[in-house]
């Protein structure tokens, strides 16, 4: 049964996640530490911090979740688990899709809990916190898809790994623009959320196909 296999896949991902939970905590610690550094660098002016808060939190969320991209496929690829799962009857496209979902649940959702705490440091008004959380739920899914593409692209890249993070940052620019735009009183909230959801749907379509193509290419040239 396919459902059974998918359930087992998630079980394995959860076990791996709990064995590496210190990694996640250090990512969140990176997030908070860089917020502190930003505040020290800008000075403790409350009005200034309130104005720039959402932008800083968004960009630091982006940076700290790119830290964990390296682990996306590399371990499974190096010990050939990805090939064994494929032999079990799951296509590479479905593997990629399940990987994206598990990355979304196990890496991005824990950041959600830390967002309200981070907003307290900047004294953000409550409607901005709502906007931030809503846009982060959509944006982090896009981030998982992009991370899948860049990590699968980098499977055979031995020399220059940071280029994968660069590509994620580059293609995340429109998402940041639309997310910060929800705060702006002039712009239409619903249309921006629809745009974000549209981008998420596009990446949901593109990323399993392209990541699977990259993984197949890498397995052939391993």
């Amino acid at each position: 049964m396919l459902i059974n296999k998918i359930f087992l896949f998630f079980k394995r991902e959860a076990k791996l996640f709990y064995s590496n939970i210190a990694d996640l905590f250090s990512n969140i610690l990176f997030f908070f530490l860089s917020i502190f550094i930003f505040v020290f660098a800008l000075g403790a002016d409350e009005q200034l911090l309130r104005n720039v808060g959402m932008g800083i939190i968004w960009s630091l969320l982006l940076l700290s979740s790119t830290l964990s991209l390296r682990k996306f496929y590399e371990d499974d690829f190096n010990n050939s688990v990805i090939k064994i799962i494929h032999m079990g009857g799951i296509s590479y496209e479905l593997i990629v899709f399940l990987k994206i979902l598990s990355h979304f649940f196990f890496v991005q959702i824990p950041f959600l809990a830390s967002i309200p705490i981070a907003c307290v440091f900047f004294n953000l008004p409550i409607n901005e916190v709502y906007n931030l959380i809503l846009t982060f739920i959509i944006g982090s899914f896009i981030l998982s898809c992009l991370g899948s593409i860049s990590a699968s692209m980098n499977l055979l890249n031995k020399t220059n790994f940071s280029i994968g993070s660069l590509i994620v940052l580059l293609f995340f620019i429109p998402v940041i623009i639309f997310s910060i735009g929800t705060n702006n009183s002039e712009s239409d909230f619903n249309s921006l959320i629809s745009l974000l959801l549209g981008i998420a749907l596009i990446f949901l379509g593109i990323s399993p196909w392209s990541s699977a193509a990259f993984i197949k290419l890498a397995l052939r040239n391993k």
């Binding site: 055979l156 890249n157 020399t159 220059n160 280029i163 293609f171 392209s210 990259f214």
Partner: protein, 231 residues
């Protein structure tokens, strides 16, 4: 007839015939263009700084044209599995990067006296800066992978995804309210630029594209030779 565009052997033969006349033609056009720029009239508002336009506009056009050529060759290379297109992708990416940085640099030199600032975060400037970053990433990707097949296909897919930026650059001055002025030349019926300034601009554009073409030919020939030795 146009086989030389996809066949390295025919490309080499064709280029060997036209290369020397092309160099002479480029020199003539470049000298003529520089003379025309020297004798072109000053702007009644901008004075001498208007002559930055004769470098800024051609390099901007060629930055976009180079990326468009790379996009077309990526589609051809991925769809019809023609390896020559990957050679071209690798050879002309640095040329496009140089034209983009030339455009950004001259624009910033022009912006300081006219707008009073080196840089503003307006849509046209930002999207061209992103184009420069995309060019740099393409060049870095060329050095990143050891396996040739992976490298070429990755770069081609990356070029295709990055080509979303081209229409954004083109229409940014129409979609958003920017400090950068809208296009003056694109309206073919009646360009909103005077003929005495249009002539040197067009000649300089031809000269820039010929210079770019000569460098591209040399780089593509070198790339073909390198692959012959390695394969």
């Amino acid at each position: 007839m146009f086989n030389f565009l996809i066949n390295p052997y025919k490309f080499n033969k064709f280029v060997d015939i036209i290369f020397k006349p092309l160099v002479i033609l480029t020199l003539l056009v470049l000298i003529a263009g520089l003379f025309l720029v020297y004798f072109s009239p000053l702007d009644y508002q901008q004075g001498l700084t208007v002559k930055i336009m004769y470098i800024h506009v051609p390099s901007a056009w060629l930055a976009l044209l180079t990326y468009a050529i790379m996009t077309i060759y990526s589609i051809i290379g991925l769809a019809f599995k023609i390896p020559f297109s990957f050679i071209i992708n690798k050879a002309i990416a640095p040329i496009g990067a140089v034209f983009t940085i030339l455009c950004l640099f001259s624009g910033s030199m022009w912006g300081k006296p006219m707008w009073g600032t080196w840089w503003v975060w307006d849509a046209r400037l930002t999207s061209v800066a992103i184009l420069f970053i995309v060019y740099l990433l393409i060049i870095f990707l060329n050095h990143a992978f050891e396996n040739r097949e992976v490298r070429e296909k990755t770069i081609a897919i990356f070029i295709l995804i990055g080509s979303i930026n081209l229409p954004i650059i083109k229409f940014s001055v129409d979609w958003w309210n920017t400090l950068h002025q809208p296009a003056s030349i694109s309206k073919l019926a009646s360009p909103s630029i005077d003929i005495s300034m249009l002539q040197p601009l067009l000649v300089m554009t031809v000269a820039f594209s010929l210079v770019g073409l000569i460098i591209a030919i040399l780089r593509i020939k070198a790339e073909i030779l390198m692959r012959k030795n390695y394969l």
